[in-house]
């Protein structure tokens, strides 16, 4: 069968989803007090910075922001060839923070496990919530997102890709079927 590409969300759709997530985050946490957004490199970090922008627009106040690279915490390091290690950039103490961990696509949940371990090594936050642009299912760990842009049941052989423009803003979500 020939490869097939389906557009799941266009730019407007992505923007609406992000705006809704931003509102949900603010509603659940009652504003930006002690709130910290942490994006998982690289896709999650781009989404996180878009959410940060929206939160500033809605609330008029900035929110703590960081990015995290989870390569050092992966559980498959010894079976993959060497992966480049990115940088973690969290410049505020995590103690008493309500952290919203952000990634673009949620799949097996292993990346989120790695990110949570990485965060716990840096400090002890009050809680960790999870925001995801697309949840494609197939979890291998007991992990459930708190904020979901789009729920998308997929087959294992399908691929989900989030396209970013030159300014690292999410433009569209595509599904590839091989």
């Amino acid at each position: 069968m020939a490869a097939e590409t389906i557009e799941i969300l266009d730019t407007d759709g992505v923007n609406r989803a992000l705006t809704r997530i931003a509102h949900e985050i603010l509603e659940r946490n009652k504003g930006v007090k002690d709130l910290a957004l942490i994006g998982i490199r690289t896709g999650g970090a781009y989404i996180a910075s878009q959410l940060r922008q929206r939160i500033v627009e809605i609330e008029g106040k900035d929110v703590l922001f960081g990015t995290i690279d989870v390569t050092m915490y992966r559980d498959d390091l010894c079976t993959r060839s060497n992966l480049a290690v990115g940088q973690t950039d969290i410049k505020f103490p995590l103690k008493n923070c309500k952290i919203v961990l952000i990634d673009d696509v949620l799949f097996t949940g292993r990346t989120i496990r790695a990110a949570m371990d990485a965060i716990m090594d840096i400090g002890r936050p009050e809680n960790i919530q999870l925001a995801i642009l697309v949840d494609r299912g197939h979890r291998e760990l007991p992990i459930r997102p708190d904020y979901i842009g789009r729920n998308l049941p997929t087959a294992r052989n399908e691929q989900i890709e989030v396209d970013f423009d030159a300014e690292y803003k999410a433009q569209a979500i595509h599904l590839f079927r091989k």
């Binding site: 050092m72 079976t79 060497n82």
Partner: protein
């Protein structure tokens, strides 16, 4: 790119891209050393043996801390407390250590080529922590990392290295490394300490310190290696200090923002005056700090990857 070396034996066989990749990787590991909990689980379950046949404080501690911060188990063996004193050969010692299945052996030895010798005979990875007067790759990499930190880019810089060139493994690794990264390397020292053929390595050779440091961006001072007969090659340490010691006065010949480096241990008042060693331009302790991050990167790159797929 993906860079997955089996051993790190020297800088000579690395490409500029590979060196830059190591430095970029070290950049990521540097952040861990400033955390409250300085540990990541990256090399959990790996065993690293530090086999040091020569005295060392910085390198051994640095490799040990690097391994521990990556959650590897590190074991230190120094010659004085090992069976070497009972007459065991290097190969026998190494084979016995290998029988305990370490993943990496970090070795320092007084014989040039000792690490290459073991790399050919053992199955585990070898990282050279200094072999005789041959190479000291992790030092050259941390030097490059420190220069990059202070100067941004190494390309186009002029780096002067002064001191006991003949006996220095640091200088050989640094010449390879800095040349590959596009710097101009100037070498200077007493004639008796300048081996013939240095120009073939691609550096400028000067017999006068003042001339060598004029307009330099970076000055790297080396110590007189007393344990390697360095002392018999000069009339006296005082005379050496007069002609080849870096002090406030001759440092002014270099660029205003030049940095002063030293691989340590420093001999105050000999190759470097106390005023310079503690002065504003010195980055000596930055070198030591960066050493841990660079060594974490080396351990990560050597230990990870497909090679281990067979073992896991």
């Amino acid at each position: 790119m993906s860079f997955n070396p089996e051993h790190i034996l020297g800088i000579k066989n690395l490409t500029a891209e590979e060196i830059s990749f190591i430095l970029d990787t070290a950049e990521s590991f540097k952040e861990i050393n400033t955390r409250q909990i300085k540990k990541v689980p990256t090399l959990r379950g790996k065993t690293i043996i530090n086999l040091f046949f020569e005295a060392s404080t910085r390198t051994r501690t640095s490799f040990e801390i690097a391994g521990k911060r990556l959650s590897a188990d590190t074991v230190n063996i120094s010659a004085s407390s090992s069976s070497v004193v009972k007459g065991e050969t290097l190969e026998d010692t190494a084979q016995n250590i290998e029988a305990m299945h370490p993943d990496i052996i970090v070795m320092r030895h007084s014989a040039s080529g000792a690490c290459d010798y073991l790399a050919e005979r053992l199955n585990c990875s070898i990282i050279n922590a200094g072999d005789g007067t041959h190479e000291h790759p992790s030092q050259a990499l941390l030097d490059a990392f420190t220069i990059r930190q202070h100067k941004g880019d190494i390309k186009g810089l002029t780096v002067t290295i002064a001191g006991d060139i003949a006996h220095s493994r640091v200088v050989r690794s640094n010449i390879y490394c800095l040349n590959k990264l596009g710097a101009t390397v100037r070498i200077t020292g007493p004639k008796t300490m300048l081996p013939p053929g240095l120009e073939r390595l691609g550096c400028e050779v000067h017999s006068n310190l003042k001339e060598a440091i004029t307009d330099a961006d970076c000055i790297m001072m080396l110590r007189i290696q007393r344990e390697r007969q360095g002392k018999t090659l000069i009339p006296s340490l005082r005379e050496y200090a007069r002609f080849f010691g870096l002090n406030d006065h001759n440092l002014q010949l270099a660029k205003k923002d030049a940095i002063v480096m030293h691989p340590g241990p420093i001999n105050r008042g000999v190759e470097i005056s106390s005023a310079v060693a503690d002065g504003k331009q010195n980055v000596i302790l930055d070198q030591v700090e960066n050493g841990v991050a660079v060594r974490m990167a080396l351990l990560y790159l050597v230990a990870g990857g497909e090679k281990l797929q067979q073992d896991c």
